[in-house]
Symmetry: C2
Subunit: 633 residues, 2 copies
């Protein structure tokens, strides 16, 4: 195969790639991070580059202005390399900050503590550091060094069964004697056996940190936690680099099948390592004191993490390789924490309902309650779970990432500068940004608000199309109509923050998939919405979603508002509970075993219901006005 050399400026980085590779892949190979939130589908228009020299085969795109085309701009994801190239990457194309700190880690701490209290858990992290003052051996008490340490740990931690690896055993006699029998044992739980992972001379009990990770299809979020205090110290997030192989996991699974899962594993582990590194550095914590990583995510992401084949997840009958992989050494997959540190992949339910959902069930406590609850996790893949302490049923709907802020041109994650709230004051449409910063884009809650507000103001109709002359803020560019909400600063001066009809279509599709799945699942169970006493909405939003707006666009039904609760990122919350409380570790396994999966995909009633929901709020608007029969008690 022909090889082409590509030189990127201003980085002055050169890579050699096969002819026919996209420019986006080449940039990735050169370790240049691009703001490609659509996953290389040519939709987001974020991957613009300028070809200075050489030949490419570029697809035509409405995302480029005539001016840009004249200046040799291309969409990197749609440009196939034909020869050696010299390429310039404009500043706005570069991911300004791949890793962004979540400034609101504080709020998670409170949330999490409350949950633990509810469950009556007592602190017992998956990995514990425990200081031991051992009796010195005498002729009367000359058991082995191994036994001396194990007995004391057993006494303090009450583990039934305990093991110690050869590496630790080999150094044990020296460490004990050099430290005068004052040592810190690091003890990790590996399913039913506790492992003494490390022995250090001295007291390091208070240096026990973990990283809890939510591996979202679009965004990876990592929280740094103190295992002793259960405090969340910091949080960071980044786009999932696997996105270059597809916005949704299906594309990535196809890629994994073609080229092996190793590449996707490498990208994911790199992302996680970067987040961990950043968290450790910013908080002055040594990697060797990070004893465990606890990961939750959808089943495909879980497979990528461990390098497990995903080939059969995406084909009927949708069989994953494993939904409950064993705890491993983090180093076994390349995650860099303390050398013998553990990686816990939380258990999931099926190929389409992953450990992010079992974590969510755990975090809401719905599997412990007498009353019926319903949990909707709004993400690229929307999952719905109904149940109580006696039974749990789950299903999933391929919603797409619109409600997460992706596949919307001006979408972004819920981070500083994101518009998280949109409202009307008289005739004016106003907004609020996260951290009160200058606006940079729209996050999920802002998007829902904006659609609801536009609908309410008569600027869009029930199909999501702009009503002509309804607002002076509707502008047309390259034949595409957009509603302009705000201006943002960019290197080229001011640029508008807007929403297009195709953005709105993506949002309607997402909410329709979720609503239809919820409705069908209830119908199959012969339940009414009114039977649901707790209606939990989870997802990577800002602080909250406006309930009335969510009802107005038909994302959720108009049930009594006090039953609705926004629970945020329950994936990470559940994962934290597992990290801190070994009772939760066993409980989540129990949830996994007891939750049934209903496959709705392709079911006739689902397709029908989905089509009915492709309106704002629904084909049958009366359902949302008066409250339909299936809503009433």
């Amino acid at each position: 195969m022909d090889q082409c050399r590509v030189v990127f400026q201003p980085q002055n980085k050169t890579v050699t790639v096969n002819r026919g590779t996209t420019l986006l892949e080449a940039a990735h190979a050169a370790d240049i991070t691009i703001n490609n939130i659509c996953g290389g589908d040519g939709i987001c228009g974020r991957c613009k580059m300028i070809v200075k020299n050489g030949n490419i085969n570029a697809k035509v795109s409405g995302k480029l202005t005539r001016e840009e085309i004249q200046k040799s701009y291309v969409l990197a994801c749609m440009a196939y390399i034909l020869s050696d190239l010299e390429v310039e990457i404009p500043e706005e194309t570069l991911a300004t900050e791949k890793v962004v700190a979540d400034t609101e880690a504080e709020r998670f701490r409170v949330f999490q503590k409350r949950l633990a209290e509810r469950e009556g858990f007592t602190s017992s992290p998956l990995v514990t550091k425990i200081y031991l003052e051992l009796e010195k051996p005498t002729l009367e008490n000359n058991t082995s060094d191994h036994q001396r340490v194990s007995d004391e740990v057993k006494k303090k931690l009450k583990y039934r069964s305990m093991q110690m690896g050869l590496k630790i055993l080999r150094t044990l006699p020296q460490i004990l004697r050099e430290s005068n029998y004052r040592v810190t044992a690091t003890v990790g739980l590996r399913r039913d056996i506790a492992e003494i992972m490390n022995i250090e001379g001295g007291n390091f009990e208070n240096k026990n940190y973990m990283v809890v990770v939510d591996m979202g299809t679009t965004t990876i979020v990592a929280h740094l936690v103190d295992a002793n205090t259960t405090d969340t110290l910091d949080a960071k997030a980044c786009f999932n680099s696997g996105g270059i192989y597809g916005r949704e996991v299906t594309g990535r699974m196809i890629m994994a099948e073609k080229k092996g899962v190793e590449e996707l594993q490498r990208l994911l582990v790199e992302d996680i390592n970067k987040l961990i590194e950043g968290l450790a550095k910013d908080n002055n914590i040594s990697l060797k004191n990070i004893t465990a990583v606890v990961c939750a995510g959808n089943t495909a992401m879980g497979h990528f993490l461990l390098g497990l084949p995903t080939d059969y997840i995406r084909r009927s009958p949708y069989v994953p390789t494993s939904t409950a992989p064993p705890p491993l050494r983090a180093a076994e997959v390349g995650i860099k924490i303390c050398p013998r540190g553990l990686l816990y992949s939380l258990p999931g339910i099926s190929g389409w309902v992953g450990s992010d959902i079992t974590a969510g069930i755990l975090a809401t406590g719905m599997s412990e309650a007498e009353e019926l609850s319903l949990l909707i996790d709004i993400g690229t893949n929307g999952e719905i779970i109904i149940g109580n302490k006696d039974w749990l049923i789950s299903c999933s709907a391929s919603a797409g990432p619109a409600l997460e802020g992706a596949s919307v041109e001006c979408g972004m994650r819920a981070e500083r500068g994101a518009i998280e709230k949109v409202y009307r004051e008289g005739d004016e449409i106003k907004y609020v940004t996260i951290g009160d910063k200058p606006p940079r884009g729209l996050c999920g809650s802002g998007i829902i608000d904006l659609v609801a507000v536009l609908l309410d103001a008569g600027i869009i109709n029930r199909s999501g199309l702009f009503v002509s002359d309804s607002s002076h803020r509707i502008a047309e560019e390259n034949g595409i109509r957009r509603f302009i909400l705000a201006e943002r600063e960019s290197s080229n001066g001011k640029e508008p923050i807007y929403i297009t009809e195709s953005d709105i279509e993506n949002i309607i599709t997402a909410k329709a998939a979720i609503f239809a799945a919820t409705k069908i699942l209830l119908e199959r169970l012969e339940l009414k919405f009114s039977d649901i006493m707790h209606f939990y909405i989870a997802g990577a939003f800002g602080n909250y979603i406006d309930v009335e707006n969510a009802v107005a666009i038909g994302l959720i039904p108009p049930i009594p508002r006090e039953r609705i609760k926004f629970v945020g990122n329950t994936s990470i919350e559940g994962a934290k509970m597992v990290a801190f409380y070994k009772e939760a570790f066993y409980k989540i396994e129990h949830i996994r075993e007891n939750c049934t999966y209903y496959d709705l995909m392709g079911a006739n009633d689902f397709v029908e219901e989905f089509q009915k929901a492709l309106f704002l709020p629904h084909t049958d608007i009366e359902l949302f006005r008066r409250g339909p029969a299936w809503l009433r008690a």
Copy 2:
């Protein structure tokens, strides 16, 4: 440090070693196996070599005749290399066969089956191969591949907790589909968790072999067993190569402390690998179908096997690194069986009472009995255990290897051609060899018989010295008197098989140490010999020891003969029980936890009793004639 090149003939092998190295070490470095049964102490006289060229510093030795000295013979273990050398190794110095097959494996099989029946065990080997015909996934039953396999194994094997490593998980989807869901799972027990170690397409249930190893200080014995039928298929033994660093383990522990334990580990693992290889080859069994190795031995050997430091075993208060190491991958220490095959090191009791003894306790069943039993394991380190189902007490006595056939000039292991029985017929002293082969030397039982016969015939006195003119078979050579029992063929024509006064002294020392330890242990427990209902004698003898002769030389007291039982190599027997029955795996752990160790070494009463026992049969001969007070009920 100066380097010297040593060329060995007729092998034509060259090694470069440091100046000051012994010739024996150099030969070892050249991978030439020498018949050095005294461990390089200059005692056995077996390591003769001829220095053709170059300088050595050789210690004077009575083991060399004047003729030999004139011909430049040296004892390789006592010859330090000073310059480049050319050395010839005479044929008789070479270990003719390092690995010798035990032709009597058959007898072990019967023995072992009986034990299992007594215990009421049902077949459940530590590693099981189980054939699974799995249901194919459907939309109604689309659990993960991992779960599908685990559930079926759990159903069939009733393990509570089960794990599967990443490597197996990664290949699982492909193997299941290629084999049409007909696979064989290899399931190993790792303490409290069962591990699915391997999945193969097809049915290989009946190919499950294990090797059970007794790591004796002097001799390593390995049995090849079929895990399904519990048959012993073959057995092999070899000298313990660690012997070049000392006949007893103390010397080897000193070496391990000086140069690191790795060298001793390497030698031991090499010995075990050679035995396994030979067993596999001779029986047409592929190494990949050997799923586990189960090892028993004294605590120092157990440490060498795993590369654990032995530094503190030999110093008060005699603390081992571990007496209960976890099951490991055999590959982790370099043992070559199936790639993910397991190594089980059985648990021991203390630094001086190893897993050979816990295996012995298990094999005799004494820890299950109401009545009191006493077990003496006669080896380089003699161990004594007293107890019943309620309690167990152990102690050890440094007996030396005389009763194993080492440190006796014509001593040898109990293998073909060994004189295993000596008796008087009228005035004639006759013998029987193992396998009725031409005599090659004396094994332990033959040595005991010979000493007893010589004492009875008045040829030696109670101190073990020859009585002048008592027999025409006493001959003197180089000032050393020897009793000639037989002739053996050698490359130099006929050579005598004999016993010397110094051989007899070694035997007396050994039996005195064991007898004294037994007596003191009983006294400390305020017990009489007559309280002991079962008196087990274990050791690497031939078929049996003659009880009357053992009493005659004072090795065992004259208790009712029906209470005495020779139980052979109980180390290997117990290890087999563990290999075949997981109940035994848990039982031996229970024995370890419940057996107390008494340290007699250096105790005043022990030293006194030891000195009294340095006569045949004892200082107080009346004790053995009439039966002493402490013997009577």
